[in-house]
Symmetry: C3
Subunit: 331 residues, 3 copies
């Protein structure tokens, strides 16, 4: 869809410098934008591109506004405002209200008539689906699931029994929410499966990435609070609790019964051990390993940047040789 | 379902201290249990909770029995016994025998009449499904698959052609068993795909986690022996052989043609290189990297716990500086 | 199918030493081969097995030909030639041309009549599918997808809207191509979703592993060039660009907006940070972390091989103690 700059300025609380009747119908990067495109400047790094842009308008802050060669929508947080305008110009793909004839819906499931249930979807007994929810093709909802209003399951998502998702939560394709946690009791060299009788509670405005897994609790629930953002291929073990608005990048693993505070940021590939807690507001950099509780908010790391392999082999050899030697000397 | 303590004591070989007619119908943690709940104590760490519990009964060992304020089921391995009772009280969700009308089953597939084939399942030619098997919604079984009795595929599982699963094996949602291994022959800077003509043999009583991948062999089979437990998002390369009762936590990758002995434990996020072997009974701690054969059973590690990032940057800088310097001095 | 050695020699440009009328109908390892099997020798390591083999014929190079006790197909690159012959003897499983009655295909999708659309497949509006494409059971193609000729989607693959795949590209089960990238604008401690309006362009002859995820671009496309080979459970962030014929092993994560040159090899479990580039022809060894640009082609590492845990704990303690001490001394 398209919008005039005047409309956008009013709706998103921007100061407009330029012609309010100019219309934009899409977003684009500064360097590729044409006159019907809206772009943004969120970092001074891109000022050279700003000066060359052919966008119809640029969202930016007042400090940069004078350098825009085109119309400017001036606002304190240009990136967030750009995101909202982009959502207006590029609405998330939807589907017609109602149930596709190929879907299989239990007779006692309760679907809001405004919800979309796509082709090949399976909805279990007593599952409830809220207003305007979007359930894309091939999703499986086991019995007793609750999807609040405006939930979006993109495609081929599995939601286990009893799992609840809050309003506006988005789940990308292939994610599995509510599989059994990894619980086995050792007995004479073998393992006895411990039934996982808890479930998963996911708040509102959460995003869950493609092929990410969130296990159900062993006893009690795994909990993801409001506004948490999880990237792709993340593993969340049973009875983990993630505080509101924490963001976790791809390929992170979090072992069971760990509590992550609110407003944390965890970099890609990081590993978080089980039965620990991480203070609210902490940052774990990418590919770090955290296996003890972090009580004090801060930035934590243990990843090592790669070197030329020939140097690295010598560094590791030296590390091991001297580490052993000195620790022996100290004994 | 519910059971009396008397029945449980007889069935699971416990000594009962308390009223045999008390009934429990669910399991719960010590701190949340009510009078209809069964709880357990497997570690002295939780004795304070034991003393406060309101459970109907607690499974524990004889050393702790005197401290239970409620009925006690006394047994040598409380956690394993608790797991078995939990499975009785919370039976795994099943489905009716027979084939859902939306399933697509090849005419020459052989399904035991007691098996459940869920909505949207696809079963290929000549595939055989054993007694009481449960094939959840959206699973795809390619031709010539064999599922032994009581196998459970939770939902949206893919089983490649010729793959065989032993009795009682459970596969969580989204797992892919029998995709092509990663085999390519280099030729003039490009890659020629090597057909992966082997398959996968999975034993009895195996558990395979959500979105875990087990590749088919290049020539010959990938083998997972009886009782192996695999968590979510694990990668098992072609022609890997995993010995019986080995347990592997989430996010582990095992490269091709590696042999893991029986009764090993591999922590989350660990990486195991290709064409090596790991001695039976070994423990690899989380986020370690193993790229040479481990001939001697033991505990092995290479993960580094995270530090405050400011400290860690200095430690890494020093490691690299001195590692290079000393290794140069030694030349 | 079967072929005579004479036919194979002509078709694949080999010198034949042996009876041209001998027929083989499968491939096998040197040690397991019978008289109807073709085997190969690609490394001098296996010469002992060569001398004992009972294969019908062996593909090898001229330097080893004299040691074959059976018929020999002599060629410069035995492994690549073996791969091609294996593909002839073991053709990739196909399916009949046409659309399975259980598939749901948009009325304005354009399917080549020679394409196979399997059971339970969902094809969105305006999607185009080329000649001889194979779309296995349970795949979901969103609107405006383009699959070029001979593309193979094995099963339960999700292809997001507007994504294009080049000729002969193979996607293993469970892969998700074109999910939203991980883009959120911070605002007052919460996150505003940034619509991901780009797409994914995948070249010809690419292979994508099981449960691998390739995100769509934020603005502009994520690009995978011709001949790239991606193993299982890989994460490719938005706007990543991977050069032709690069091969990436399982469990690798590549953060957004990074450019990987052509002909690179990235080992399993490696992590590549965002907004960097890696020189063409580089090798990143397994479980390394790369977070700055690699401008010079080479081999790079930061993985540390595991030690006995008791030794490793002392090495780490020493690393941290001395790293802190020396870096303080240097201040």
């Amino acid at each position: 869809m398209s919008a005039s700059l005047g409309e956008l300025a009013v709706r998103f609380g921007c100061e407009l410098r330029g012609d309010p009747d100019v219309r934009v119908d899409k977003v684009a990067a500064l360097g590729n934008a044409d006159g019907a495109s809206l772009s943004f400047l969120a970092s001074a790094r891109y000022k050279a591109q700003l000066r060359e842009t052919r966008a119809g308008a640029v969202v930016l802050d007042s400090a940069s506004a004078s350098e825009s060669p085109v119309a400017a929508l001036i606002v304190e947080n240009p990136y967030a405002t750009f995101a909202r305008i982009a959502a207006l110009l590029h609405p998330a793909p939807g589907g017609p209200a109602g149930v596709h004839p190929s879907a299989v819906v239990a007779s006692d499931a309760v679907l809001d008539p405004s919800a979309h249930v796509g082709a090949g979807v399976v909805v279990g007994a007593r599952t409830r689906v809220g207003a305007r929810a979007y359930i894309g093709a091939g999703c499986v909802l086991e019995p007793d699931v609750v999807l609040d209003e405006d939930v979006r399951l993109i495609a081929r998502v599995t939601i286990g029994r009893d799992v609840e998702l809050g309003a506006r939560t988005i789940v990308q394709a292939g994610a599995v929410i509510g599989a059994d946690g990894f619980g086995f009791a050792p007995e004479g060299g073998t393992w006895v499966k411990v039934p996982q009788v808890g479930s998963v509670r996911i708040g509102a405005d959460v995003e869950i990435g493609a092929n990410t897994c969130i296990d159900r609790g062993a006893i009690g629930n795994t909990v993801i609070e409001d506004g948490v953002k999880l990237d792709n291929l993340i593993q969340i073990g049973h009875n983990v609790h993630i505080g509101a608005h924490t963001a976790i990048a791809a390929c992170v693993g979090i072992a069971g019964s760990t509590t992550i505070g609110a407003h944390c940021q965890i970099g890609g590939g990081a590993g978080i051990g089980g039965h620990i807690s991480i203070a609210a507001g902490s940052v774990i950099t990418a590919w770090s390993m955290v296996i003890t509780t972090i009580a004090e908010r801060g930035v934590y790391s243990s990843g090592i940047p790669a070197e030329k392999a020939s140097d690295w082999r010598r560094i590791v050899a030296d590390l091991k040789l001297h580490g052993r030697k000195r620790s022996t000397d100290n004994h």
